[in-house]
């Protein structure tokens, strides 16, 4: 054997050894931790438990495909128990004690507001998957749900169009908290700008968990009997919807008479209601389970396999978490690290093909560009899509319909580097 051959062989051996070594290191490396901050008990468990399962499914899938940066990903699940101060405590625990790279969590606005100072203080990264009132852009939060211009306005425009029945009179009914208040404020300004007289708008707020809808449904009927086509725009929250729809159905309000378009009612909520009397009432979302795309088929299949129950539905916030998680993994791969500052930079412009069949993009205002779909409720608890936008719509963090917020810009890249500024922080 010549020296050369020996050298070559040695080299090869050395290479193999090095490879084995790095592989060994990769295997022994600490897993990347991510936090899951969703209520598993208390009032919000109804909605949030599913989102926890969604993230666990995504993590499971990622690990089967080899993990991230050669490391496994581990989800740290905690239960903030629908208790808002406990959300802040658990967020701090996740960031400081568990040292998670990112947190997926929160549903209600108040829970997000509660954890916000913690994320800003400790420079964490939160993915918030629910449609909300906007008027916020934090450096430490990525908002993967819809802003009002991605849900409410297109829905109202649809109802004003010939296809939607040319509605002239509007009932804005909501639960008394910040999301309905904002959405209704934006909608009122929008309707008035479209020439709807103030008398043709009725605004009504009810408490959380309101269960006795007899009076209000009767009021709506009375308001609708004025001879103009009337629709209800519902921002009624979670729990109160079941008795509301039951009352609607029993008082015989058909969608062809008074359509109700809701922004907080999705497949998961309908699973708790008998929908045979609600056919034709509407909802506006960025995703419906009934979307007919290959991506969606795969998503539903994956969900059913993970949860081991083919009756379970998928919904918009789940899709938002799907998008958020995919974007985060892509950004981590691109940045080559889980360091929050580096990943944040890599997030901007990140693109994910979502189950809705569109390419979803993360903008520099920390909100997504998403398509808007209007669906009508079917007897089987699904939605039939009756209208959708041609392209994805970019979310407004600050609504142009609220004078104080119309002045503000959210842009976290140079020269703005700001979530609520009237002028850039850095002059060019």
């Amino acid at each position: 054997m010549s020296m050369k051959a020996l050298g070559l062989r040695g080299l090869a051996l050395g290479g193999a050894f090095a490879a084995a070594l790095t592989a060994g290191i990769a295997q022994a490396a600490e897993p990347i931790k991510i936090g899951v901050l969703h209520s598993l008990s208390g009032t919000m468990a109804i909605s949030e438990t599913t989102l926890k399962d969604t993230i666990l499914m995504m993590v499971d899938d990622l690990n089967k495909k080899g993990g991230l940066l050669g490391r496994k990903v581990e989800a740290v699940v905690v239960d903030p128990a629908s208790n808002w101060p406990l959300f802040a405590e658990k967020a701090r625990e996740l960031l400081q004690k568990e040292k998670v790279a990112a947190v997926f969590g929160c549903w209600t606005s108040v829970s997000r507001k509660s954890v916000l100072p913690v994320f800003e203080e400790l420079n964490g990264m939160l993915f918030y998957p629910v449609q909300y009132e906007g008027e916020e852009s934090s450096r430490n939060v990525f908002y993967t749900g819809a802003a009002p211009n991605q849900q409410a306005i297109p829905a109202v425009e649809y109802l004003m169009s010939p296809d939607g029945g040319e509605v002239k009179r509007w009932v804005l009914a909501g639960t008394d908290y910040v999301y309905p208040r904002t959405t209704n404020k934006i909608l009122e300004a929008f309707l008035i700008s479209k020439g709807v007289p103030k008398d043709d708008i009725m605004v009504n707020y009810t408490p959380f968990g309101h269960s006795d809808w007899q009076t209000i449904v009767a009021d709506i009927k009375r308001f609708a009997s004025a001879g103009k086509k009337t629709a209800v725009v519902s921002t009624i929250n979670g729990d109160a919807n079941v008795p509301f729809y039951k009352e609607l159905a029993n008082q015989g309000i058909k969608a062809t008479d008074i359509p109700v378009v809701a922004f907080s009612v999705g497949e998961e909520e309908l699973a708790g209601i008998d929908t045979s009397n609600l056919v034709g009432h509407l909802a506006a979302w960025n995703y419906f389970m009934s979307v007919d795309t290959a991506e969606n088929d795969a998503f539903i299949k994956q969900w059913h396999a993970f949860i081991k129950d083919t009756k379970r539905v998928t919904n918009d916030p789940m899709e938002a978490h799907y998008i958020g998680f995919k974007m985060w993994t892509q950004a981590v791969q691109q940045a080559g690290t889980t360091d929050v500052d580096a990943v944040r930079q890599a997030m901007y412009g990140q693109k994910v093909r979502s189950p809705s069949g569109y390419d979803i993009v993360m903008n520099t205002n920390h909100h997504l560009s998403k398509p808007v779909m209007i669906g009508e409720i079917q007897a089987d608890g699904q939605f039939e899509i009756v209208s959708k936008t041609d392209a994805a719509i970019k979310a407004d963090a600050w609504s142009p319909f609220i004078p104080e917020s119309a002045k503000l810009t959210a842009d976290w890249t140079f020269p703005w580097v700001c979530g609520n500024c009237t002028e850039p922080k850095f002059a060019k």
């Binding site: 808002w84 405590e89 625990e93 916020e136 908290y177 104080e404």
Partner: protein
């Protein structure tokens, strides 16, 4: 040495004082020192999240203490103590909101963000004065006290006792919760007050402020404990206990039962209000869920777990239950309610006097055992 000092000193035995001072030293000095002075990787280090967690527990402990004063000594179980806590918290929250000034998202120095947003044109009158520290301090004490005085006056005058008193205090906190949920009230609705920036000019997010708030909570708890102990040991305290055990008899003996109960109920509300005021800057948010009846029931549970009518037990109970909650919601997020529910059931069944009483139970058992052994020995 004045008479008051000597009475104060007489509150506790020598051993009692040394335990009290020892605990205060650990809470108010040792924890902050271990947090600030040791490197983060040292085994003795107390991490930042632990400091804010303990600060929260201290506020809860003060709240539990205040309930024990009325429940444990005057026999009136208030299921609305969370309301006093929340009112103190709201007073503090309003002050902190006014401190934000132009740093809010809409940059309006005259109005908090949520008011700008709901098209309010000017600050409602009940917000006036909260810019000032003194006015705020006064309100933290006065608002809960006034509410307690009014509710207590109505209730005790009509000789409402037992469950009836519990239920009307529950109705009170429930009504307040619904009221604060309303956005028209001008307290921020469901989101409450949040996004605070600084307190007395010190940024709330800094470590030093957090430690200072923590120490303030520890000192307040100690002071609250002494005040409660003072009341309990006084003649009034003995009248209260007599009321607890046989109200009608005390009345027939000529004592003014209504006044005694009213005083202790109002005092207790003040302590709860202070607890709430210290709680808010540490957790960074106050919203109507603090008024929820379940929250107030939980306070009663802390007291019962620790041992009612002992003051110290209330503090112990608050720490035990909240500590258990913090640990279990992280360790066993799916099943922690089993542990917590189980704890409550076991405590009521096997520790009727709470954790504090457990010591007595054990001692009695050991004493019995010793006696038995001694008897055997003799035999």
């Amino acid at each position: 040495m004045g008479p008051l000092t000597s009475r104060l000193l007489a509150l506790e035995s020598r051993r009692g004082w040394s335990v009290f001072c020892g605990l205060l030293l650990v809470a108010a000095v040792l924890v902050p020192v271990l947090h600030l002075a040791t490197p983060p990787d040292s085994p003795l280090h107390v991490p930042a999240y632990m400091v804010s967690l303990l600060g929260k527990y201290l506020c809860f402990a003060l709240l539990a203490l205040s309930l024990d004063l009325v429940w444990g000594y005057a026999g009136a179980l208030s299921l609305g103590h969370g309301a006093f806590f929340a009112l103190g918290g709201y007073a503090m929250g309003m002050h902190l909101m006014r401190q934000i000034g132009e740093r809010g998202v809409y940059g309006n120095a005259g109005l908090p963000d949520f008011m700008v947003f709901l098209n309010w044109k000017e600050l409602p009158w009940y917000w006036w004065g909260f810019d000032g520290v003194l006015w705020t301090a006064l309100m933290i004490v006065a608002v809960p006290a006034a509410l307690a005085f009014v509710v207590g006056w109505f209730a005790f005058r009509s000789r409402i006792t037992g469950v009836y008193f519990s239920i009307i205090t529950q109705a009170m906190t429930f009504a307040l919760m619904l009221a604060f949920f309303r956005n028209e009230m001008g307290f921020g609705g469901n989101n409450g007050l949040t996004d605070f920036k600084d307190i007395l000019g010190y940024p709330l997010q800094s470590d030093a402020t957090r430690v200072a708030l923590y120490v303030a909570s520890a000192v307040m708890l100690a002071a609250g404990y002494l005040v409660a102990r003072f009341v309990v040991a006084s003649k009034l305290g003995r009248v209260l206990m007599a009321i607890r055990d046989a109200e009608s008899r005390v009345r027939f003996l000529g004592y003014d039962v209504t006044a005694a109960k009213l005083f202790v109920f109002t005092l207790s509300a003040v302590l709860a209000g202070i607890a709430g005021a210290l709680y808010v800057p540490q957790v960074g948010i106050i919203n109507p869920s603090e008024f929820s009846p379940a929250q107030s029931i939980e306070v009663a549970i802390w007291v019962a777990v620790g041992g009612r009518g002992t003051l110290f037990g209330a503090i112990l109970g608050a720490f035990t239950v909240n500590g258990a909650k913090s640990v279990f919601t992280g360790l066993a997020p799916e099943v922690w309610l089993f542990f917590l529910g189980g704890l409550f059931i076991l405590v009521t069944l096997f520790m009727p006097k709470g954790i504090v009483g457990l010591w007595g139970q054990l001692r009695a058992k050991i004493g019995e055992g010793v006696q038995n052994v001694a008897q055997k020995h003799r035999a």
